[in-house]
Symmetry: C2
Subunit: 140 residues, 2 copies
């Protein structure tokens, strides 16, 4: 994801308005490595602007995802996770116990072509590694 300042540019270029709510979402995502849910982005935003609705957060997250500035992950933790790191191709590590999501910089399936049926256009590939993180394992 670009910096909040650059996003402001891009939004303007598309005829979209710059509102304080949107900027607050940009800020909440910027350099955020936690793969937050919409709910947790909302919490962060509300800490500074108490009136912002969850609906608006979803709206902005969807807009950013549509522009390719962030990506939306479904890792089976109930709610979608949003990832501002679209620059580096990477995969994810998920703790099944606390829901933590971490980046995993691993190259995946080199000879993928072999088993993909003729005519299928591959768009992307996501690896999710599941397990328990250290702090969850220590708990019992």
């Amino acid at each position: 994801m670009r910096t909040p300042a650059e996003l402001t540019e891009r939004f303007r270029a598309q005829g979209l308005k710059i509102t304080p709510q949107r900027v607050a979402v940009f800020d909440a995502l910027h350099d955020n490595p936690t793969h937050p849910t919409a709910e947790s982005v909302h919490s962060a935003v509300v800490a500074r602007m108490p009136t912002v609705s969850l609906r608006t957060v979803y709206q902005t997250l969807n807009d950013l995802a549509e522009m390719g500035e962030i990506s939306r992950l479904e890792v089976g933790t109930g709610s979608a996770r949003f990832d501002p790191n679209v620059e580096e191709r990477h995969h994810h590590l998920v703790c099944e116990s606390c829901g933590m999501v971490r980046d995993l910089h691993v190259e995946v399936a080199p000879e993928l072509g072999d088993d993909v049926p003729e005519g299928f256009e591959v768009v992307g590939a996501e690896l999710v590694v599941r397990g328990r993180c250290r702090s969850c394992a220590d708990k019992d």
Copy 2:
């Protein structure tokens, strides 16, 4: 997944009762390569036993998953998919346009250990390859 007959055995062994509803679910899953949703299992079951509720189908699918007879996949198509193929380890190919899910027999990330943080207990890894299937690509 075992045959419906063998599942009948296993259910009895666990003190679970054999009902026609359950047998119908066993039958719907047996040798089914489509990775059906609960809804589509329900449709198949209802074709023979019109009164079976969706709740009962979910119940049985959960029981089977808990026993390890089937697995539940979250591939981002909205609803969970159920996979009776737990014998062969494999991954999946998903058409983003029609939701089709196909098996992908590919070996994944051999040197995975490198980037997994110390103390994280890996339970499993799932690769999802996304794109458009041939018939969807042909449509436009």
